[in-house]
Protein backbone atom coordinates (compact mmCIF):
# COMPACT_ATOMS: atom_id res chain seq x y z
CA UNK A 1 0.00 0.00 0.00
CA UNK A 2 1.44 3.34 -0.95
CA UNK A 3 1.61 6.27 1.35
CA UNK A 4 1.19 9.71 -0.16
CA UNK A 5 4.24 11.79 0.51
CA UNK A 6 3.14 14.75 2.60
CA UNK A 7 5.34 17.18 0.74
CA UNK A 8 3.34 17.02 -2.47
CA UNK A 9 0.51 19.35 -1.61
CA UNK A 10 2.37 22.60 -1.69
CA UNK A 11 5.37 21.49 -3.67
CA UNK A 12 3.65 21.22 -6.98
CA UNK A 13 4.75 24.25 -8.94
CA UNK A 14 2.04 26.76 -9.78
CA UNK A 15 0.84 26.41 -13.35
CA UNK A 16 2.98 23.29 -13.88
CA UNK A 17 0.33 21.64 -16.08
CA UNK A 18 -0.26 24.77 -18.08
CA UNK A 19 3.41 25.43 -18.72
CA UNK A 20 4.32 21.87 -19.51
CA UNK A 21 1.35 21.64 -21.88
CA UNK A 22 2.90 24.25 -24.14
CA UNK A 23 6.29 22.63 -24.05
CA UNK A 24 5.00 19.11 -24.68
CA UNK A 25 2.72 20.22 -27.52
CA UNK A 26 5.68 21.97 -29.15
CA UNK A 27 7.95 18.95 -28.90
CA UNK A 28 5.34 16.45 -30.06
CA UNK A 29 4.20 18.66 -32.95
CA UNK A 30 7.76 19.06 -34.08
CA UNK A 31 8.21 15.31 -34.31
CA UNK A 32 4.74 14.31 -35.47
CA UNK A 33 4.55 17.09 -38.05
CA UNK A 34 2.56 20.31 -37.85
CA UNK A 35 -0.38 18.70 -39.71
CA UNK A 36 -0.79 16.61 -36.55
CA UNK A 37 -1.00 19.52 -34.15
CA UNK A 38 -4.45 18.40 -33.01
CA UNK A 39 -3.14 14.93 -32.27
CA UNK A 40 -0.23 16.37 -30.32
CA UNK A 41 -2.71 18.37 -28.24
CA UNK A 42 -4.85 15.29 -27.63
CA UNK A 43 -1.85 13.23 -26.57
CA UNK A 44 -0.80 15.95 -24.15
CA UNK A 45 -4.33 16.16 -22.78
CA UNK A 46 -4.28 12.38 -22.22
CA UNK A 47 -0.92 12.75 -20.51
CA UNK A 48 -2.27 15.30 -18.05
CA UNK A 49 -5.30 13.16 -17.40
CA UNK A 50 -3.04 10.24 -16.63
CA UNK A 51 -1.00 12.40 -14.26
CA UNK A 52 -4.15 13.50 -12.50
CA UNK A 53 -5.38 9.92 -12.13
CA UNK A 54 -2.13 8.60 -10.74
CA UNK A 55 -0.77 11.54 -8.74
CA UNK A 56 -3.91 12.10 -6.73
CA UNK A 57 -3.38 8.63 -5.25
CA UNK A 58 0.37 8.34 -5.26
CA UNK A 59 1.45 11.91 -4.83
CA UNK A 60 3.63 14.04 -7.06
CA UNK A 61 6.72 12.24 -8.37
CA UNK A 62 10.18 13.61 -7.60
CA UNK A 63 10.56 15.08 -11.06
CA UNK A 64 7.03 15.85 -12.23
CA UNK A 65 8.11 17.30 -15.58
CA UNK A 66 10.22 14.27 -16.49
CA UNK A 67 7.29 12.03 -15.55
CA UNK A 68 4.98 13.96 -17.87
CA UNK A 69 7.46 13.91 -20.76
CA UNK A 70 7.99 10.20 -20.46
CA UNK A 71 4.25 9.51 -20.59
CA UNK A 72 3.76 11.93 -23.50
CA UNK A 73 6.61 10.36 -25.42
CA UNK A 74 5.22 6.84 -24.91
CA UNK A 75 1.80 7.95 -26.03
CA UNK A 76 3.31 9.51 -29.14
CA UNK A 77 5.26 6.35 -29.96
CA UNK A 78 2.12 4.24 -29.51
CA UNK A 79 0.24 6.58 -31.80
CA UNK A 80 2.85 6.41 -34.56
CA UNK A 81 3.11 2.62 -34.24
CA UNK A 82 -0.63 2.19 -34.40
CA UNK A 83 -0.43 3.69 -37.89
CA UNK A 84 -2.87 6.48 -37.20
CA UNK A 85 -0.66 9.06 -38.80
CA UNK A 86 -2.60 10.01 -41.90
CA UNK A 87 0.12 11.19 -44.20
CA UNK A 88 2.89 8.74 -44.76
CA UNK A 89 6.18 9.81 -43.26
CA UNK A 90 8.95 10.58 -45.69
CA UNK A 91 11.65 8.00 -45.20
CA UNK A 92 14.05 10.67 -43.95
CA UNK A 93 11.53 11.88 -41.39
CA UNK A 94 10.93 8.37 -40.26
CA UNK A 95 14.64 7.87 -39.80
CA UNK A 96 14.85 11.06 -37.82
CA UNK A 97 12.07 10.09 -35.45
CA UNK A 98 13.44 6.60 -35.06
CA UNK A 99 16.93 7.80 -34.36
CA UNK A 100 15.67 10.23 -31.77
CA UNK A 101 13.47 7.66 -30.14
CA UNK A 102 16.03 4.91 -30.27
CA UNK A 103 18.75 6.67 -28.33
CA UNK A 104 19.96 4.70 -25.36
CA UNK A 105 18.06 6.83 -22.92
CA UNK A 106 15.04 7.77 -25.00
CA UNK A 107 13.06 9.54 -22.33
CA UNK A 108 15.89 11.96 -21.79
CA UNK A 109 16.93 12.36 -25.39
CA UNK A 110 13.67 13.65 -26.79
CA UNK A 111 13.04 16.02 -23.98
CA UNK A 112 16.38 17.50 -23.23
CA UNK A 113 16.02 21.06 -22.11
CA UNK A 114 17.73 22.39 -25.23
CA UNK A 115 15.45 20.36 -27.47
CA UNK A 116 12.37 21.58 -25.64
CA UNK A 117 13.32 25.22 -25.91
CA UNK A 118 14.19 24.77 -29.54
CA UNK A 119 10.80 23.18 -30.18
CA UNK A 120 8.98 25.95 -28.33
CA UNK A 121 10.77 28.58 -30.40
CA UNK A 122 9.91 26.80 -33.64
CA UNK A 123 6.33 26.48 -32.51
CA UNK A 124 6.25 30.19 -31.75
CA UNK A 125 7.40 31.02 -35.26
CA UNK A 126 4.80 28.65 -36.70
CA UNK A 127 1.96 30.13 -34.59
CA UNK A 128 2.97 33.65 -35.63
CA UNK A 129 3.38 32.80 -39.29
CA UNK A 130 2.50 35.84 -41.46
CA UNK A 131 -0.09 33.89 -43.46
CA UNK A 132 -2.22 33.39 -40.32
CA UNK A 133 -4.51 36.33 -39.45
CA UNK A 134 -3.10 38.36 -36.55
CA UNK A 135 -5.87 37.71 -34.03
CA UNK A 136 -5.67 33.99 -34.81
CA UNK A 137 -1.91 34.11 -34.23
CA UNK A 138 -2.48 35.47 -30.74
CA UNK A 139 -5.18 32.95 -29.86
CA UNK A 140 -3.19 30.02 -31.21
CA UNK A 141 -0.03 31.05 -29.35
CA UNK A 142 -1.91 31.34 -26.07
CA UNK A 143 -3.64 28.02 -26.64
CA UNK A 144 -0.78 25.85 -27.85
CA UNK A 145 2.19 27.44 -26.11
CA UNK A 146 0.53 29.09 -23.15
CA UNK A 147 -1.65 26.09 -22.32
CA UNK A 148 -4.67 28.35 -21.85
CA UNK A 149 -8.12 27.02 -22.66
CA UNK A 150 -10.42 28.78 -25.10
CA UNK A 151 -12.58 29.84 -22.13
CA UNK A 152 -9.64 31.43 -20.37
CA UNK A 153 -8.53 33.28 -23.49
CA UNK A 154 -12.08 34.45 -24.12
CA UNK A 155 -12.27 35.77 -20.55
CA UNK A 156 -9.03 37.67 -20.83
CA UNK A 157 -9.96 39.15 -24.20
CA UNK A 158 -13.57 39.98 -23.32
CA UNK A 159 -14.93 37.93 -26.15
CA UNK A 160 -16.89 34.72 -26.52
CA UNK A 161 -15.41 31.28 -26.28
CA UNK A 162 -16.90 30.56 -29.70
CA UNK A 163 -14.98 33.46 -31.26
CA UNK A 164 -11.72 32.25 -29.78
CA UNK A 165 -12.41 28.67 -30.87
CA UNK A 166 -13.02 29.94 -34.41
CA UNK A 167 -9.79 31.90 -34.41
CA UNK A 168 -7.84 28.87 -33.26
CA UNK A 169 -9.55 26.68 -35.83
CA UNK A 170 -8.72 29.14 -38.60
CA UNK A 171 -5.08 29.24 -37.54
CA UNK A 172 -4.83 25.47 -37.56
CA UNK A 173 -6.45 25.28 -40.99
CA UNK A 174 -3.87 27.76 -42.29
CA UNK A 175 -1.06 25.67 -40.87
CA UNK A 176 -2.40 22.67 -42.77
CA UNK A 177 -3.17 24.52 -46.01
CA UNK A 178 0.07 26.43 -46.17
CA UNK A 179 2.03 23.43 -44.92
CA UNK A 180 3.66 25.60 -42.27
CA UNK A 181 6.37 23.41 -40.86
CA UNK A 182 8.13 23.74 -37.56
CA UNK A 183 11.40 24.59 -39.22
CA UNK A 184 13.45 27.44 -37.87
CA UNK A 185 13.27 30.42 -40.25
CA UNK A 186 16.36 30.89 -42.42
CA UNK A 187 18.82 33.70 -41.82
CA UNK A 188 17.24 35.96 -44.41
CA UNK A 189 13.75 35.30 -43.22
CA UNK A 190 14.51 35.57 -39.52
CA UNK A 191 14.37 39.36 -38.97
CA UNK A 192 10.94 39.65 -40.60
CA UNK A 193 9.53 36.56 -38.92
CA UNK A 194 10.95 37.64 -35.55
CA UNK A 195 9.19 40.99 -35.93
CA UNK A 196 5.85 39.29 -36.31
CA UNK A 197 6.50 37.07 -33.27
CA UNK A 198 7.42 40.14 -31.21
CA UNK A 199 4.33 41.95 -32.43
CA UNK A 200 2.11 39.08 -31.29
CA UNK A 201 3.79 38.95 -27.88
CA UNK A 202 3.46 42.72 -27.55
CA UNK A 203 -0.25 42.63 -28.39
CA UNK A 204 -0.79 39.65 -26.12
CA UNK A 205 0.78 41.48 -23.21
CA UNK A 206 -1.18 44.67 -23.90
CA UNK A 207 -4.42 42.77 -24.19
CA UNK A 208 -3.79 41.28 -20.77
CA UNK A 209 -2.57 44.54 -19.31
CA UNK A 210 -5.23 46.92 -20.56
CA UNK A 211 -8.32 44.77 -20.76
CA UNK A 212 -10.93 46.01 -18.32
CA UNK A 213 -12.10 42.52 -17.45
CA UNK A 214 -12.85 42.18 -13.77
CA UNK A 215 -10.98 38.93 -13.40
CA UNK A 216 -7.49 40.29 -12.85
CA UNK A 217 -5.97 36.86 -12.36
CA UNK A 218 -6.55 35.65 -15.88
CA UNK A 219 -5.27 38.93 -17.29
CA UNK A 220 -2.08 38.68 -15.27
CA UNK A 221 -1.70 35.11 -16.49
CA UNK A 222 -1.87 36.29 -20.10
CA UNK A 223 0.82 38.89 -19.36
CA UNK A 224 2.94 36.26 -17.63
CA UNK A 225 2.68 33.98 -20.67
CA UNK A 226 3.76 36.78 -22.98
CA UNK A 227 6.72 37.48 -20.69
CA UNK A 228 7.71 33.84 -20.46
CA UNK A 229 7.81 33.48 -24.24
CA UNK A 230 9.62 36.78 -24.74
CA UNK A 231 12.18 35.73 -22.15
CA UNK A 232 12.80 32.54 -24.09
CA UNK A 233 13.50 34.56 -27.23
CA UNK A 234 15.75 36.91 -25.28
CA UNK A 235 17.83 34.01 -23.99
CA UNK A 236 18.33 32.24 -27.30
CA UNK A 237 21.44 33.16 -29.23
CA UNK A 238 19.70 33.44 -32.60
CA UNK A 239 16.87 35.62 -31.32
CA UNK A 240 18.36 37.45 -28.32
CA UNK A 241 18.52 40.74 -30.22
CA UNK A 242 18.39 44.23 -28.67
CA UNK A 243 14.74 44.78 -29.63
CA UNK A 244 13.79 41.51 -27.89
CA UNK A 245 15.51 42.74 -24.74
CA UNK A 246 13.71 46.05 -25.18
CA UNK A 247 10.33 44.32 -25.33
CA UNK A 248 11.24 42.28 -22.26
CA UNK A 249 12.20 45.52 -20.48
CA UNK A 250 8.87 47.08 -21.41
CA UNK A 251 6.93 44.10 -20.06
CA UNK A 252 8.88 44.01 -16.79
CA UNK A 253 8.41 47.73 -16.19
CA UNK A 254 4.69 47.66 -17.02
CA UNK A 255 3.98 44.62 -14.91
CA UNK A 256 5.84 46.13 -11.95
CA UNK A 257 2.71 48.27 -11.50
CA UNK A 258 0.19 45.47 -11.42
CA UNK A 259 -0.42 45.63 -7.68
CA UNK A 260 -0.80 49.41 -7.66
CA UNK A 261 -3.09 49.63 -10.67
CA UNK A 262 -6.30 48.55 -9.04
CA UNK A 263 -7.81 49.44 -5.70
CA UNK A 264 -9.47 47.20 -3.13
CA UNK A 265 -12.77 47.31 -4.98
CA UNK A 266 -11.16 46.54 -8.32
CA UNK A 267 -11.32 50.17 -9.44
CA UNK A 268 -8.63 51.46 -11.78
CA UNK A 269 -6.03 53.75 -10.26
CA UNK A 270 -4.28 56.03 -12.72
CA UNK A 271 -0.53 56.46 -12.76
CA UNK A 272 -0.74 59.84 -11.05
CA UNK A 273 -2.72 58.45 -8.10
CA UNK A 274 -0.90 55.15 -7.64
CA UNK A 275 0.81 54.26 -4.40
CA UNK A 276 4.30 53.93 -5.81
CA UNK A 277 5.51 51.90 -2.85
CA UNK A 278 3.38 49.09 -4.26
CA UNK A 279 5.40 48.97 -7.45
CA UNK A 280 7.50 45.83 -7.64
CA UNK A 281 11.15 46.83 -7.19
CA UNK A 282 12.57 43.52 -8.47
CA UNK A 283 10.58 43.86 -11.70
CA UNK A 284 11.69 47.48 -12.13
CA UNK A 285 15.30 46.43 -11.62
CA UNK A 286 14.96 43.59 -14.10
CA UNK A 287 13.31 45.94 -16.56
CA UNK A 288 16.12 48.45 -16.28
CA UNK A 289 18.65 45.68 -16.71
CA UNK A 290 16.97 44.45 -19.89
CA UNK A 291 16.80 48.02 -21.09
CA UNK A 292 20.53 48.46 -20.70
CA UNK A 293 21.12 45.15 -22.53
CA UNK A 294 18.86 46.47 -25.28
CA UNK A 295 20.93 49.60 -25.68
CA UNK A 296 23.61 48.06 -27.86
CA UNK A 297 23.83 48.46 -31.62
CA UNK A 298 22.19 51.22 -33.59
CA UNK A 299 18.72 49.86 -34.16
CA UNK A 300 16.02 51.78 -32.37
CA UNK A 301 12.73 49.90 -32.22
CA UNK A 302 9.38 51.11 -30.92
CA UNK A 303 9.93 48.73 -28.00
CA UNK A 304 13.08 50.63 -27.05
CA UNK A 305 11.17 53.88 -26.94
CA UNK A 306 8.18 52.45 -25.10
CA UNK A 307 10.43 50.74 -22.55
CA UNK A 308 12.32 54.01 -22.03
CA UNK A 309 9.01 55.81 -21.47
CA UNK A 310 7.98 53.19 -18.92
CA UNK A 311 11.37 53.53 -17.21
CA UNK A 312 10.94 57.29 -16.82
CA UNK A 313 7.76 56.66 -14.84
CA UNK A 314 9.41 53.89 -12.85
CA UNK A 315 12.27 56.15 -11.84
CA UNK A 316 10.03 58.96 -10.55
CA UNK A 317 9.41 58.48 -6.84
CA UNK A 318 6.36 60.73 -7.03
CA UNK A 319 4.16 61.73 -9.96
CA UNK A 320 5.31 65.35 -9.57
CA UNK A 321 8.92 64.24 -10.01
CA UNK A 322 8.28 62.74 -13.47
CA UNK A 323 10.87 63.90 -16.01
CA UNK A 324 8.31 65.35 -18.40
CA UNK A 325 10.88 66.88 -20.76
CA UNK A 326 12.58 63.54 -21.35
CA UNK A 327 9.18 61.91 -21.68
CA UNK A 328 8.13 64.46 -24.27
CA UNK A 329 11.27 63.77 -26.32
CA UNK A 330 10.57 60.07 -26.18
CA UNK A 331 6.97 60.51 -27.28
CA UNK A 332 8.17 62.63 -30.19
CA UNK A 333 10.51 59.81 -31.24
CA UNK A 334 7.74 57.26 -30.81
CA UNK A 335 5.47 59.42 -32.89
CA UNK A 336 7.98 59.26 -35.74
CA UNK A 337 8.39 55.49 -35.46
CA UNK A 338 4.77 54.60 -34.91
CA UNK A 339 2.39 57.48 -35.59
CA UNK A 340 -1.15 57.01 -34.35
CA UNK A 341 -3.81 58.75 -32.29
CA UNK A 342 -2.85 57.07 -28.99
CA UNK A 343 0.76 58.16 -29.36
CA UNK A 344 -0.35 61.70 -30.22
CA UNK A 345 -2.60 61.58 -27.18
CA UNK A 346 0.21 60.60 -24.83
CA UNK A 347 2.47 63.18 -26.42
CA UNK A 348 -0.16 65.83 -25.73
CA UNK A 349 -0.30 64.78 -22.09
CA UNK A 350 3.49 65.07 -21.83
CA UNK A 351 3.29 68.55 -23.38
CA UNK A 352 0.62 69.53 -20.89
CA UNK A 353 2.85 68.61 -17.95
CA UNK A 354 6.22 69.56 -19.47
CA UNK A 355 5.01 72.97 -20.67
CA UNK A 356 1.61 74.14 -19.53
CA UNK A 357 -1.94 72.78 -19.24
CA UNK A 358 -2.98 75.24 -21.91
CA UNK A 359 -0.50 73.83 -24.42
CA UNK A 360 -1.64 70.36 -23.46
CA UNK A 361 -5.25 71.31 -24.24
CA UNK A 362 -4.21 72.84 -27.58
CA UNK A 363 -2.34 69.71 -28.49
CA UNK A 364 -5.24 67.47 -27.47
CA UNK A 365 -7.62 69.49 -29.59
CA UNK A 366 -5.61 68.59 -32.68
CA UNK A 367 -6.47 64.91 -32.28
CA UNK A 368 -9.80 64.44 -33.99
CA UNK A 369 -10.21 60.69 -33.88
CA UNK A 370 -10.25 60.43 -30.08
CA UNK A 371 -12.69 63.22 -29.27
CA UNK A 372 -15.31 60.81 -27.99
CA UNK A 373 -12.94 58.55 -26.09
CA UNK A 374 -13.35 58.58 -22.32
CA UNK A 375 -9.58 58.82 -21.81
CA UNK A 376 -9.40 61.89 -24.02
CA UNK A 377 -12.32 63.54 -22.25
CA UNK A 378 -10.86 62.69 -18.86
CA UNK A 379 -7.48 64.19 -19.83
CA UNK A 380 -9.15 67.38 -21.08
CA UNK A 381 -10.92 67.65 -17.75
CA UNK A 382 -7.64 67.16 -15.88
CA UNK A 383 -5.90 69.96 -17.74
CA UNK A 384 -8.84 72.34 -17.31
CA UNK A 385 -8.79 71.68 -13.58
CA UNK A 386 -5.03 72.36 -13.51
CA UNK A 387 -5.81 75.65 -15.23
CA UNK A 388 -8.33 76.41 -12.53
CA UNK A 389 -11.47 75.95 -14.64
CA UNK A 390 -13.31 73.47 -12.42
CA UNK A 391 -16.65 73.93 -14.22
CA UNK A 392 -15.25 73.11 -17.66
CA UNK A 393 -13.31 70.22 -16.13
CA UNK A 394 -16.52 68.85 -14.67
CA UNK A 395 -18.36 69.08 -17.97
CA UNK A 396 -15.62 67.07 -19.70
CA UNK A 397 -15.68 64.42 -17.01
CA UNK A 398 -19.42 64.13 -17.27
CA UNK A 399 -19.07 63.54 -21.01
CA UNK A 400 -16.37 60.96 -20.23
CA UNK A 401 -18.74 59.23 -17.84
CA UNK A 402 -21.29 58.85 -20.60
CA UNK A 403 -18.71 57.30 -22.93
CA UNK A 404 -17.31 54.58 -20.74
CA UNK A 405 -18.88 51.14 -20.58
CA UNK A 406 -16.66 49.86 -17.80
CA UNK A 407 -17.88 50.10 -14.22
CA UNK A 408 -14.31 50.52 -13.00
CA UNK A 409 -13.65 53.44 -15.30
CA UNK A 410 -16.95 55.04 -14.38
CA UNK A 411 -16.10 54.79 -10.68
CA UNK A 412 -12.81 56.50 -11.36
CA UNK A 413 -14.39 59.40 -13.21
CA UNK A 414 -17.11 59.83 -10.59
CA UNK A 415 -14.42 60.14 -7.96
CA UNK A 416 -12.80 62.92 -9.97
CA UNK A 417 -16.07 64.79 -10.25
CA UNK A 418 -16.63 64.52 -6.51
CA UNK A 419 -13.14 65.70 -5.52
CA UNK A 420 -13.52 68.61 -7.90
CA UNK A 421 -16.79 69.67 -6.28
CA UNK A 422 -15.51 69.40 -2.72
Amino acid sequence: MSALPDKNVRQLVDHLFRHETGRMVAVLTRFLGSENLDTAEDLVQDTLLKAMEVWRFRGVPDNPSAWLYKVARNKAIDWVRSGQRQTKLLSTEEEKIKSIWNLSSPSEALFQEGEIQDSVLRMMFACCHPSIPLESQIALTLKTLGGLSATEIANAFLTSEETIAKRIYRAKEKIKQEKIRLDPPGIFELPHRLDSVLHVLYLMFNEGYHSSHSDTIIREDVCAEAMRLTFLLAQHKATGLPKVHALMALMCLQSSRFAARTGDLGEIILLEDQDRSKWSKPLIEQGLEFLSKASVGNMLSEYHVEASIASIHSLALRFEETQWDTLLNLYETLHELKPGPMVSFNKAIAIGYAKSPEEGINELEKINSLKDHYLYLTAMGNFYLLQGDADIAKSFWEKALAKTTSAKEAALIKRKIQTCLS
Binding site: M1, S2, F57, R58
Partner: protein, 116 residues
Protein backbone atom coordinates in the same frame (compact mmCIF):
# COMPACT_ATOMS: atom_id res chain seq x y z
CA UNK B 1 -11.88 1.87 14.74
CA UNK B 2 -13.00 -0.11 11.76
CA UNK B 3 -11.67 -0.16 8.26
CA UNK B 4 -13.58 0.88 5.18
CA UNK B 5 -12.88 0.76 1.52
CA UNK B 6 -13.90 3.82 -0.49
CA UNK B 7 -14.35 2.81 -4.11
CA UNK B 8 -14.43 5.68 -6.60
CA UNK B 9 -16.66 5.42 -9.65
CA UNK B 10 -16.42 7.82 -12.58
CA UNK B 11 -15.70 11.45 -11.84
CA UNK B 12 -13.11 13.87 -13.12
CA UNK B 13 -11.41 11.50 -15.57
CA UNK B 14 -14.43 11.72 -17.83
CA UNK B 15 -15.49 15.29 -17.12
CA UNK B 16 -15.44 17.52 -20.20
CA UNK B 17 -14.43 20.43 -17.94
CA UNK B 18 -11.06 18.78 -17.57
CA UNK B 19 -9.86 20.06 -20.94
CA UNK B 20 -8.09 22.90 -19.27
CA UNK B 21 -4.61 22.23 -17.84
CA UNK B 22 -4.93 24.84 -15.12
CA UNK B 23 -8.32 23.49 -14.03
CA UNK B 24 -6.94 19.94 -14.01
CA UNK B 25 -4.06 20.91 -11.78
CA UNK B 26 -6.34 22.81 -9.39
CA UNK B 27 -8.70 19.86 -9.25
CA UNK B 28 -5.87 17.47 -8.49
CA UNK B 29 -4.75 19.77 -5.71
CA UNK B 30 -8.22 19.40 -4.17
CA UNK B 31 -7.54 15.68 -3.95
CA UNK B 32 -4.23 16.38 -2.25
CA UNK B 33 -6.03 18.60 0.22
CA UNK B 34 -8.61 15.92 0.97
CA UNK B 35 -5.97 13.21 1.49
CA UNK B 36 -3.92 15.53 3.66
CA UNK B 37 -6.93 16.18 5.84
CA UNK B 38 -7.68 12.44 6.17
CA UNK B 39 -4.07 11.82 7.10
CA UNK B 40 -4.00 14.55 9.72
CA UNK B 41 -7.03 13.01 11.35
CA UNK B 42 -5.32 9.62 11.24
CA UNK B 43 -7.96 8.19 8.93
CA UNK B 44 -6.01 7.52 5.76
CA UNK B 45 -4.60 4.01 5.51
CA UNK B 46 -3.72 3.92 1.82
CA UNK B 47 -5.06 3.87 -1.69
CA UNK B 48 -4.24 3.00 -5.27
CA UNK B 49 -5.34 4.21 -8.70
CA UNK B 50 -6.52 1.59 -11.18
CA UNK B 51 -5.83 1.46 -14.91
CA UNK B 52 -9.04 1.70 -16.93
CA UNK B 53 -8.16 -1.47 -18.85
CA UNK B 54 -7.50 -5.03 -17.73
CA UNK B 55 -8.74 -8.59 -18.09
CA UNK B 56 -11.58 -10.74 -16.84
CA UNK B 57 -10.88 -14.36 -16.02
CA UNK B 58 -14.07 -16.30 -15.56
CA UNK B 59 -15.74 -19.66 -15.19
CA UNK B 60 -14.46 -23.19 -14.79
CA UNK B 61 -12.65 -22.82 -18.10
CA UNK B 62 -10.82 -19.69 -16.91
CA UNK B 63 -11.89 -17.77 -20.00
CA UNK B 64 -9.88 -14.58 -20.37
CA UNK B 65 -11.61 -11.54 -21.82
CA UNK B 66 -10.53 -7.92 -22.11
CA UNK B 67 -12.00 -5.06 -20.12
CA UNK B 68 -13.48 -2.41 -20.15
CA UNK B 69 -15.53 -3.42 -17.21
CA UNK B 70 -18.20 -0.78 -17.26
CA UNK B 71 -19.13 2.42 -18.98
CA UNK B 72 -16.59 5.13 -18.27
CA UNK B 73 -18.96 7.04 -16.01
CA UNK B 74 -19.22 3.94 -13.83
CA UNK B 75 -15.64 2.79 -14.10
CA UNK B 76 -13.68 2.27 -10.88
CA UNK B 77 -10.78 4.69 -10.95
CA UNK B 78 -9.23 3.69 -7.64
CA UNK B 79 -9.81 3.06 -3.97
CA UNK B 80 -8.86 4.31 -0.52
CA UNK B 81 -8.73 2.36 2.73
CA UNK B 82 -9.73 4.55 5.64
CA UNK B 83 -10.47 3.99 9.29
CA UNK B 84 -13.63 5.25 10.97
CA UNK B 85 -15.75 4.57 14.06
CA UNK B 86 -18.68 3.29 12.07
CA UNK B 87 -20.28 3.49 8.65
CA UNK B 88 -21.85 6.88 9.39
CA UNK B 89 -18.51 8.39 10.15
CA UNK B 90 -16.98 6.75 7.08
CA UNK B 91 -19.72 8.32 4.97
CA UNK B 92 -19.08 11.67 6.62
CA UNK B 93 -15.40 11.42 5.66
CA UNK B 94 -16.34 11.31 1.96
CA UNK B 95 -17.80 14.83 2.14
CA UNK B 96 -14.65 16.36 0.66
CA UNK B 97 -14.38 13.86 -2.21
CA UNK B 98 -13.59 16.32 -5.02
CA UNK B 99 -15.33 14.49 -7.86
CA UNK B 100 -18.93 14.87 -6.67
CA UNK B 101 -19.21 17.94 -8.90
CA UNK B 102 -18.49 15.71 -11.90
CA UNK B 103 -21.14 13.19 -10.83
CA UNK B 104 -18.54 10.86 -9.40
CA UNK B 105 -19.73 8.27 -6.87
CA UNK B 106 -18.14 6.81 -3.79
CA UNK B 107 -19.00 3.32 -2.66
CA UNK B 108 -18.40 2.99 1.08
CA UNK B 109 -17.82 -0.65 2.08
CA UNK B 110 -16.93 -1.91 5.55
CA UNK B 111 -14.01 -4.33 5.42
CA UNK B 112 -15.02 -7.62 7.06
CA UNK B 113 -13.31 -8.57 10.26
CA UNK B 114 -12.32 -11.99 11.57
CA UNK B 115 -13.54 -11.48 15.13
CA UNK B 116 -17.22 -10.90 15.12
Amino acid sequence: MEKFMLIFHGGSDVAPEMKNPEAMQKHMQKWFGWVEKLKKEGRYEGGEPLEPSGKFVSGPNRIVTDGPFAESKELVGGYFIISAKDIDEAVALTQDYPDFIFNGKVQVRPIQKMDM
